[in-house]
């Protein structure tokens, strides 16, 4: 009853004109009443929308969004075009590397580099290889390690151990300094004449005395790093001359020798390194993203750069 009354009141004159009486029957009146509209947002906004609709023109906000989207698409296209251009450039560069005027075989290149480094100490003349990695977008960047047949620096390795058997093994693997408490005493006095230190688990508790001396120098043996182990022979053999290299952008640069090395030593180092890189590329070619070694340049510390084939 109360609903009917309110409807009648809203309908205004229609109800009152029926002979001054409030009719209980609401049937003819209901057709005149508008159904209630859902109310979303403020009235002002709704009015604005209505006005815009009636005009037929898009609002300012829509135009801005469209422009932004168009800009985004154009940018993406431009970036894609530039990437394709760069990749093509690298491929052409790799293809034409052997036609370059300063292209030589490695032996001749080394002759030039040794002449350029004349009179410099052997340690100051690093011969390095810089190669361009031509890869499809999404290929895994080269990050691997390998052992050079002729390492650049001979490391002095110290092994802390109490066992005489392990000491003999360590000497066989190339450790220069092998001993127990005698080396610890030396270190305590400040005499450190080694570049790497290994230890067997039986002596680790005694090494704590010199942890404050060896720790900051990065020489403290540690099980986590694999420098505290029973299998000292394999640990030494695996770590000697191991070199890690990582691709920076599209370039990969790594040292392969000194000017004092023979041609054969440098060539065998180069072969080992390039084999490791190629193996990494084939192993990591996920989703068919291929990569290969492009233009390669050999150079020395102060020498010119020469294009070579590897």
């Amino acid at each position: 009853m109360s609903l009917a009354r309110s409807l009648l009141l809203r309908s205004g004159n229609a109800a009152t004109t029926t002979a001054g009486l409030i009719s209980v029957s609401s049937r003819p009146l209901l057709q005149l009443i508008n159904p209630p509209q859902p109310r979303y947002g403020s009235k002002k906004k709704r009015d604005e929308k209505k006005a815009a609709k009636s005009d037929g023109a898009p609002s300012k906000a829509d135009a801005k969004q469209l422009a932004h989207q168009r800009e985004k698409v154009l940018l993406r296209l431009r970036q894609k075009r530039e990437e394709t251009k760069k990749a093509t450039k690298l491929r052409v560069e790799a293809k034409n590397a052997s036609k370059s005027s300063n292209f030589m075989d490695i032996e001749t290149a080394l002759r030039y580099l040794r002449a350029a480094e004349v009179g410099r100490s052997a340690h100051a003349t690093t011969i390095s290889l810089t190669m361009r990695i031509v890869a499809e977008k999404g290929a895994v960047p080269v990050n691997t390690k390998c052992r050079l047949p002729k390492p650049l620096d001979e490391e002095r390795i110290a092994v802390f151990t109490n066992s005489s058997e392990l000491a003999a093994e360590a000497r066989r693997a190339g450790a220069v300094l092998v001993g127990g408490d005698d080396i610890i005493d030396q270190v305590k006095q400040g005499i450190i004449n080694f570049d790497k230190a290994y230890a067997t688990p039986d002596i680790v508790s005694r090494l704590n005395q010199v942890a404050r001396i060896l720790g900051p120098k990065g020489l403290m043996p540690n099980a986590k790093r694999g420098t505290v182990t029973h299998d000292i022979y394999n640990a030494l053999v695996q770590a000697s001359g191991e070199m890690t290299f990582k691709q920076e952008g599209t370039m990969l640069s790594l040292p392969v020798g000194r000017a004092s090395f023979t041609d054969l030593e440098i060539v065998s180092n180069i072969v080992t390194v390039t084999d490791a890189i190629r193996k990494f590329m084939t192993d990591s070619s996920a989703h068919n993203k291929k990569a290969y070694i492009g233009k390669t340049v050999i150079t020395s510390t102060t020498g010119p750069s020469i294009v070579v084939e590897v």
């Binding site: 005027s101 300063n102 002759r111 030039y112 004349v118 009179g119 010119p304 750069s305």
Partner: protein, 132 residues
């Protein structure tokens, strides 16, 4: 000068120049000693300009350059370019207050070195437009 031209000029300067001489087989080594106390302009430029060419044309000749300190000089070390021979003898070339050309001239005379023929010296060239 573009990057490639600069590289080629550097490579050619190693192979070609006044120092492109071939020493006889009885020369077993060269040792240049420079003074750090007194000026050694001539000796230094001989090292930078001529020695690379000597090394290039004599790849197996050991060449050493040593900087002699004042103390070592006082102890009797000589400032010179010494040439050692197979029979154990050695000749020394004076380098103090001399230009690189004079040092080279004396070195060639003392060692009995001969100039490398022009056609044996490799010269790298950028291909010209007409070669392509």
């Amino acid at each position: 000068m573009s990057g490639l031209n600069r590289q080629l000029a550097r490579l050619n300067s190693i192979a070609k120049g006044a120092g492109s001489v071939r020493v006889p087989t009885n020369v077993t080594g060269l040792s240049l000693r420079l003074s750090t106390r007194r000026p050694a302009k001539g000796a230094k430029s001989f090292w930078r300009e001529n020695l690379p060419q000597v090394q290039f044309h004599n790849p197996s000749l050991p060449i050493t350059v040593k900087k002699v300190t004042a103390e070592q000089e006082a102890a009797g070390e000589k400032i010179s370019l010494s040439i050692s021979f197979e029979d154990g003898t050695s000749k020394s070339v004076e380098t103090t207050e001399r230009t690189s050309e004079q040092i080279l001239e004396d070195f060639v005379a003392a060692s009995g070195a001969s100039q490398v023929p022009e056609n044996e010296i490799p010269v790298l060239k950028r291909p010209s437009f007409h070669d392509l």
